[in-house]
Symmetry: C2
Subunit: 437 residues, 2 copies
């Protein structure tokens, strides 16, 4: 199976666990069999490889997510990086070209496209495989997954099939309806459109060549920023007559709000939390080191990260966005391909961070114009390079770097640093990368 996972942008609906750098699909919230936690993207990736160990998985995403994807999925996963945001048609075209020109997948093979963040069981991936097989048959150019609705939702588009068979031609599409229309569609046998579909690789490649002038993946990548923003629905689906829908009767959840996300939690709390017996339907997700105590609450979600603290009635939590939009602060934590960082303290002319490097990893060789930095190694072993000079480092070592000085650190074991930044204009944008000679 060739599968393209669309990994969307920065969601604020799951603040404070999602932020400008960490999208909701990277929050580790789902309990695994060994007692740890995995994120949506880790869960879906694991489920795909369980259903089909031979699957070629390509994640279509933006540059900002590459570090998190490598950190969570390792280096083997394919990534089609959009140089800038250009809506779903260019993104799917680029990923399809990547499959063909980089991964060598032939034009006759089917490709399945689905969002990276559905909360589903293993039968969903069996259905994805069947979707690809149906596309390979060639009885239609596009095969959509139609999810059997469990309630008259106003959040999804609807697909009306011609008949109630397992596979049917599509009669018509309906935009997100109001409640009454949703009820009416369901009476007509409509299915939810979850944005999941399959096609033969050559079909989308041809459509892309028609609309955008390019020779291969590298060429398309190079001119990506000149492309028009256009959705896959508008560019392809609405103009295509030969579309089939394949019915999916299994469980499918879109965990887009705290309310729906907490429904998928096995335990009532993750992290350092105490929930008193007077609480009912309370969920706590605490990424801070200090304890959260919840007492006498009902239908409440509490979520804390280095970015902030949310305490919300579960129903009310879907209205979070305008409030989070008002919050203007530094990114306080991030996962990088080499490890992670967390901001410990912010002052007008200084910032203190904790930096953790994974064993065998290193950050970019870089310099800053407007700030001095000091690293204090608090655990682990490795090597620092400062202006070309190598130095073995371990707990207790202090390395000072003036503004302009080039530096990196390479972890031998897991390596933790306290980094103190000093300067008048401390900014994440003040960073120049260099080649480590």
């Amino acid at each position: 199976m060739n599968i393209i996972l669309l990994s969307g942008g920065s969601g604020k609906r799951l603040w404070p666990l999602s932020n400008d750098i960490r999208s909701k699909q990277f929050i580790k919230i789902f309990k695994t069999e060994n007692g740890g936690y995995e994120s949506m993207v880790q869960r879906v990736y694991r489920q795909i490889l369980t259903a089909d160990p031979e699957a070629t998985v390509t994640i279509a995403t933006s540059r900002t997510q590459v570090s998190s994807i490598h950190n969570q999925l390792g280096e083997k996963v394919g990534i089609s990086v959009e140089p800038c945001r250009r809506d779903t048609f260019p993104a799917i075209a680029l990923a399809t070209a990547y499959l063909h020109h980089v991964q060598g997948i032939p034009e006759e093979e089917p490709v399945v496209v689905c969002p990276v963040d559905p909360y589903v069981e293993d039968d969903y991936f069996t259905a994805l495989k069947a979707l690809g097989e149906q596309a390979a048959k060639g009885s239609a150019n596009l095969v959509l997954m139609g999810i059997e609705p469990t309630y008259p939702s106003e959040k999804y588009g609807y697909i009306i099939p011609e008949n109630s068979g397992s596979v049917s031609r599509v009669s018509t599409f309906k935009e997100k309806p109001d409640l009454a229309a949703a009820r009416d569609y369901i009476r007509q046998g409509a299915l939810w459109n979850g944005g999941v579909f399959a096609y033969k690789l050559g079909y989308v490649l041809d459509k892309a060549r028609c609309l955008m002038d390019f020779t291969d993946y590298d060429d398309l990548f190079a001119k990506y920023d000149t492309l028009e923003k256009i959705s896959f629905d508008y560019a392809v689906v609405e103009k295509e007559a030969a579309i089939e829908v394949m019915r999916f009767p299994g469980q499918w959840k879109d965990l887009g709000t705290w309310n729906t996300l907490t429904e998928a939690m096995v335990d009532s709390s993750i992290g350092n939390a105490m929930v008193d017996p007077a609480c009912g339907n309370v969920h706590v997700i605490n990424e801070l080191d200090v304890p959260i105590l919840a007492m006498g609450l009902h239908d409440v979600v509490i979520s804390a990260s280095p970015e902030g603290i949310l305490v919300s009635d579960k129903g009310q939590s879907s209205y979070i966005k305008p409030f989070v939009d008002k919050i203007d602060q530094h990114v306080m934590f991030a996962e990088k391909s080499w490890g992670s960082f967390k901001v410990l303290d912010v002052e007008p002319e200084s910032m203190t961070l904790k930096v953790t490097l994974n064993p065998g990893h290193q950050m970019n060789y870089h310099s800053h114009k407007n700030r001095d930095e000091v690293w204090h190694v608090i655990s682990g072993k490795g090597r620092a390079v400062v202006d070309g000079l190598n130095q073995e480092i371990e707990a207790g070592h202090v390395i000072s770097m003036k503004a302009g000085c080039r530096h990196t650190v390479i972890a031998e074991t897991e390596l933790k640093l306290i980094e103190v930044q000093l300067g008048k204009d401390i900014s994440v944008h003040d960073k120049e990368k260099h080649v480590l000679g």
Copy 2:
């Protein structure tokens, strides 16, 4: 007016704002006229000096609170430090001896004793003055304040007066009753016993000399740890026949729980907080730098400090103690006489703190057996002394101190340091003080 304020021990009922070091009376929660915030002890001290600018105020407290008292009230306030906890009679006797032998107050003068944490208006302090004047008349050995009850509380002891006059002999005392008994007492004209009373200084000094063998304040202080634990009620009040009660009809609140404390808040939030319009009767006290967002909650208090986060139904908040007793962690922040510190990060063999020194102040000259320390100056100017060597310091300076090395820092302006501690057994108890030569 000579007034002894009893400043009690570490309350856990207002966790996470109170901890083993900071008692509830030091939490800055009351809005002042200039838009800042003051603590209970600051509010009461200010109110006393407004009612009587000549008042001699002595705070009877334990060693652990001395730093906070000086930090919040300055150096002028009198402090009678109990070398160890020995209940209220030895504490009041020691403070009374301090007034006589150290402050030179004659035995004939009245002394008023009251807890440091009532939430009251100015009329209360006028009443305290009247209480002292009544004691000075000598028609009784003890004059108690009787607070007119506003509801049949089960939390307070009751005083039954002989008559309903402004001043009356006491008929009898009643322990904390159940609801029915409380209603019955109130029908009999009973008053709340708020632990406020006045006496002529010599009266308590005589009682103390009878029960404890000592010559003067210094002698009593020296043998304090040998004294028996005994309450003032048991040692004095219950054995005294000549007791009067003076009626206080004004507002008096005991802000011992989050529920009662939030009633005294002018604004619904303190610190970085957003409360959405769907919330009702929600209070947020946030001592962290990151925002708290509250949505759709009712009758809830949210309180966050570097120690942890409480989210509680207001009524439920009075049952907090057993949960907080289960929390076992480092003290994460503290006010000291010289400034404050906050723990930023804790690892098995390191700890990172932010230390703030007030201008002109310095910490003790000290050393640690089991940890190395590094200071990174992030703002301000001052002087560090390390093993007797002086060094001017300012933002950007890094000072390394190996275990065993003696060190202190003296702030010229406000001075902020990041302190990184490294060692196998990091503990607040690993500290030896030295004399700065």
